[in-house]
């Protein structure tokens, strides 16, 4: 099936928030702190500006709580007494002329009495740097399986390593955008670019002290999210709504790229230490893993990012003794937030690089080491989760090695490297997994709801809060509903997410949409078909032609009415999770991957080019070949950027290179042919048999590429991004070509 909104995006007909025709509206902009930490002593408005022309909002204008509604409510909507990072929002301005507004923003000065900031998440703290709890720790978590300490003491071989990853900017093609107004009924409405309509709704309720019927959130076509529009839109939506509320006009906030890159969330930087006990022939005996994630200035989503990072930290391997500890800590930097992979790319990077280091230590092939330890059906992960389904991990690995012609190529590289004056080629492997859906009891807690309406016009409407942001929700939901009812796809419509019209099917995150929400579509379709069958006096719930005939007949008799089928999330029977001990089924299921990267390193410039890439994965059943391959290809490209070039340059906790000129993402010229393969194994509790695909491809490329660089050069790179400047420090100068 062709992507439903593909043509309108291709031709430019799609209307994004900034394209929406508005009349008599104001532009909104944000005055931000220039200080990483301090007490706000004054806000000075330059008298050269006629401020009576502007709508001005400060924290005093917030009708409800000055708190961004998230896991903890420590982040203000507008800084009131203190600022905790550069670019923190302090004052909002609105004006009909965008240029006048841009200039005015520079004429407001936030005067701050500076307090000592923290920038290094590992540095010892002075008492005056404390800003959260007793240690600036947002969250500390632990996983224990067996007795890792004892097993390490007894292990014949112990290998250690420390690995670090940097922040990453999402670079969605459409910057953050939000429009707000108050409708005739006094309801505060926003529409804009966002992933999670109900997160925004909750934020508005909290800020305006209203019930759900007093606020409304509508998604506009969204030009990419990657997690960057998971939590942050709540802030912009409240900002726009505050300006609209005060001015009585429609207010539109569109971030410039520079502002978006400077002020919004990034991927959490991480430091991960491994101590691993192995037998001489490479069996894992004990994994001791210590994780630090830099959370930035407020809690935001750090506890759950940390949790996912921890759960994936030991990799897709069987090991009887595992101890994983992790902390998300405060720094006076913009808050780090959700980003495709959500903590797992960081810990997979460490673990997969570490596997290669172990292999080198043992003089064993990295492939063989993995083969000996990959989880088999019936074995358990670090949380004691029994692996019950999915393609055998060794089968995936073999398929990837085959597709990459791994052995033959490595032989040719050895000859090439001996002969070439300055180019070095190498290959690297990563095997990994990604849990689909919310972690632990998260899906139970969300208790997502979905509705499917049979309408008297003969069409079926899927109503969910799950958003299309370029990843294919519209197309995949249409496919799932059409398959569930055995009707043509053009009889299905997917409602635009609007909190007045669609139930809360949860946020569009965590690789949960096709699998978790898709399954709700199937169950709601069952419910609706059952109702239709009963209404028509049929002996069973109709499908296919019988369904359409019954719907047409029912529609003629009931013009303007609809039959609504509903479903609410119920966890699969086998899933058991114990939050206190962090044991059990961390996810209902995992997707699995085996990736092989080939690189060429130029010893004159220390630059690394990925010359070939093979991505083999099990994502359950593939619902749409093109879209699924697109998810993998896009994820690999985004991960190539993270691995080799995307570096946030920080100065006092603020991103200095907040322009696309200096924040370097890959172009098509930097990306090789990406060979994507799926080995399918339908998952019983996923929509159409699907598991998650969105995040998985972010996990594998980083370590596969750095493993390939190690293979090519003999260096042992442990930090991302591996820019040429970093690689230069790892290659002895004697190797000059």
């Amino acid at each position: 099936m062709l992507r439903l909104e593909g043509l309108s995006k291709l031709t430019g007909a799609e209307r994004y928030a900034d394209d929406m025709p508005l009349c008599d509206f104001l532009w909104g902009m944000t005055v931000r702190s220039q200080s990483p930490r301090g007490r706000i002593v004054d806000i000075r408005f330059d008298p050269s500006v006629d401020w009576s022309q502007f709508t001005i909002v400060t924290h005093r204008d917030i009708p409800g709580c000055n708190e961004v509604y998230l896991i903890e409510k420590d982040q203000p909507i507008l800084a009131a007494t203190h600022t905790r990072h550069i670019h923190e929002a302090v004052v909002l301005l609105a004006h009909p002329d965008r240029q006048a507004l841009r200039r005015a923003v520079g004429k407001v000065k936030v005067i701050v009495d500076e307090l000592p900031p923290v920038f290094d998440p590992r540095a010892p703290l002075a008492p005056e740097q404390l800003q959260h709890g007793t240690e600036n720790v947002f969250k500390a978590l632990e996983i224990r399986k067996g007795d890792a300490a004892a097993a390490l003491t007894a292990a014949p071989v112990v290998v250690e390593g420390e690995y670090a990853t940097g922040a990453q900017e999402h670079v969605y093609i459409e910057p953050n955008a939000m429009i707000a107004w108050t409708d005739e009924a006094g309801v505060i409405c926003v529409r804009g670019s966002l992933q999670c309509p109900y997160y925004v709704l909750n934020a508005l309720k909290h800020a305006f002290a209203r019930e759900a019927d007093g606020v409304r959130v509508i998604q506009t076509p969204t030009g990419g999210g990657f997690g960057g529009k998971e939590d942050y839109p709540s802030i912009i939506a409240v900002h726009a709504a505050l300006l609209a509320h005060k001015s009585g006009k429609q207010v539109k906030i569109i971030y410039d790229r520079d502002e978006d890159m400077a002020a919004t969330t990034k991927r959490h930087p991480s430091i991960v230490r491994h101590r691993t006990g192995v037998t001489k022939d490479g069996l894992l005996l004990a994994q001791d893993i210590d994780i630090i994630m830099d959370g930035g200035a407020y809690v935001t989503l750090s506890p759950v990012v940390l949790s996912r990072g921890l759960i994936h930290a030991a990799g897709p391997y069987s090991c009887a003794n595992v101890h994983v500890r992790g902390r998300a800590v405060l720094t006076n930097c913009i808050p780090h937030g959700a980003f495709r992979g959500f903590g797992a790319p960081q810990t997979h990077f460490a673990n997969e690089r570490h596997m290669d280091r172990i292999a080198a230590h043992l003089g064993m092939s990295p492939v063989e080491l993995r083969r000996r330890n990959l989880l088999k059906k019936g074995q358990t992960t670090s949380t004691g989760q029994v692996i019950r389904d999915g393609v055998d991990r060794c089968e995936l690995l073999d398929a990837a090695l085959d597709a990459a012609r791994y052995d033959a190529r490595r032989q040719r590289h050895a000859e090439f490297n001996r002969a070439h004056p300055y180019l070095r080629r190498g290959m690297g492997v990563a095997t990994f997994h990604h849990g689909a859906g919310f972690t632990g009891s998260g899906e139970d807690y969300l208790a997502s709801k979905l509705a499917v309406a049979a309408r008297s016009d003969g069409r079926v409407e899927v109503r969910s809060a799950s958003t299309e942001m370029g990843q294919g929700t519209l197309t995949v939901f249409t496919t799932i509903a059409a398959e569930a009812l055995d009707i043509p796809a053009d009889r299905v419509v997917v409602a635009n997410p609007d909190t007045h019209l669609v139930p809360n099917s949860g946020p569009t995150v965590a690789s949960r949409t096709a699998m978790v929400v898709g399954h709700l579509i199937e169950r709601a379709c069952d419910d609706m078909a059952g109702q239709l069958g009963a209404a028509r006096g049929l002996s069973s719930a109709p499908r296919g032609g019988a369904f359409l005939a019954a719907l047409d007949a029912w529609g003629r008799e009931n013009p303007g009415r609809e039959l609504v089928g509903r479903a609410q999330y119920k966890k699969p029977e086998y899933v058991q999770w114990y939050d206190k001990t962090y044991q059990g089924d961390a996810y209902a299921t995992f997707s699995w991957g085996a990736y092989v990267a080939e690189v060429e390193v130029d010893l004159r410039t220390f630059s690394t080019r990925v010359t070939d890439f093979v991505a083999v994965q099990d994502i359950g059943r593939v619902l749409n070949d093109t879209l699924a391959a697109g998810q993998v290809t896009g994820g690999v490209v985004q991960a190539i950027g993270w691995a080799l070039m995307e570096e946030c340059v920080w100065e006092r906790g603020a991103m200095k290179n907040n322009q696309l000129t200096n924040y370097i993402i890959p172009t098509s010229f930097d990306v090789p042919e990406i060979n994507v393969k799926f080995i399918q194994s339908p998952y019983a509790h996923g929509g159409g048999g699907a598991k998650g695909v969105g995040e998985l491809p972010m996990d594998g490329p980083g370590p596969a590429i750095l493993n390939a660089v190690a293979d090519a050069t003999g260096a042992d790179p442990c930090e991302l991004p591996l820019t040429p400047e970093r690689l230069m420090r790892l290659i002895p100068s004697g190797d000059a070509p």
């Binding site: 070039m645 200095k656 370097i664 930097d670 230069m728």
Partner: protein, 274 residues
């Protein structure tokens, strides 16, 4: 914002004298336009109506590039391709097709960025810049055009009208650009090298406050010709000629090391040839 659209050079010069900023392809001027609010208050003089600034011309001594000549114009010109492959090599490395078809060689010179890619190629060919101002015309060698970081000898009333490239027989030319990715990137380390009967030219970009000729390197290359100098001599000369810095894009150490490695490897390709 004010924009003047003159049709004669004299008008354009009088606007420039009043402080109007010349606009050629605008690919430098209008980058980041929305957020550079200070630029919105300036006055501009659009050069696109000045026909005398257009065109590629040949004389016995020179290739003359009118000031509005774009990279694309030269890439499409078979004579330039045949006689000055160094210019084409540089042009291909500038941005991508959108920028190549709007950006001008003269704009690259006047903009004065130390990272400019067109300038080292032109400078290695001993190009001269023709300037016209209220007091008439003068021609300045490109290697004496820059006086410091983004500072030039151009007078407040002067415009670049053309670039003159002497026609010589070159035995060797090479252009190298190292950016943070393979295309659409600002140069971290770059150089153009040329050898003719007039001796060696080595010009580096992103290695000092301006694009800069390297007299010490040229001297040791001339002295050892036709063999390449020894590596330690090459490094010592480079350190005399250049003053790379650490900035948002790279480090001084990286620039120094990579410049030496690339230059050595580039010179090796010359001597490897029979």
């Amino acid at each position: 914002m004010k924009v003047a659209c003159p049709t004669t050079l004299a008008e354009a010069i009088s606007h420039k004298a009043l402080g109007f900023t010349p606009v050629a392809g605008a690919t430098d001027l209008w980058a980041h336009w929305p957020v550079r609010t200070a630029n919105h208050d300036l006055s501009y003089v659009d050069l696109s109506g000045l026909h005398e600034l257009r065109g590629i011309a040949w004389s016995a001594e020179h290739l003359t590039l009118g000031a509005l000549t774009t990279y694309w114009d030269t890439m499409q010109d078979s004579r330039v391709n045949a006689e000055f492959p160094l210019l084409i090599a540089a042009a291909r490395y500038v941005g991508a097709i959108q920028i190549q078809s709007r950006g001008t060689w003269a704009g690259n010179i006047a903009n004065g960025s130390p990272a400019a890619d067109g300038v080292p190629a032109l400078m290695a060919l001993d190009a001269r810049v023709r300037l016209v101002g209220s007091n008439g015309e003068r021609t300045v060698p490109l290697d004496r055009f820059y006086t410091g970081y983004r500072a030039t000898v151009m007078g407040v009333d002067e415009l670049i009208t053309a670039i003159l490239v002497p026609r010589r027989t070159y035995s060797f030319t090479a252009f190298e650009k190292v950016g943070p990715r393979r295309a659409q990137a600002i140069t971290k380390v770059g150089f153009a090298v040329a050898h003719s009967a007039d001796g060696w030219r080595v010009v580096a970009n992103s290695m000092a406050a301006t694009v800069r000729r390297c007299p010490s390197l040229e001297a040791i290359l001339n002295a050892s010709h036709p063999n390449p100098p020894a590596e330690p001599d090459l490094r010592a000369a480079a350190s005399k000629d250049l003053a790379p810095i650490s900035d948002i894009r790279s480090t001084a150490e990286y620039r120094t090391e990579v410049f030496a490695r690339l230059l050595r490897s580039t010179l090796a390709t010359m001597t490897a040839r029979p």
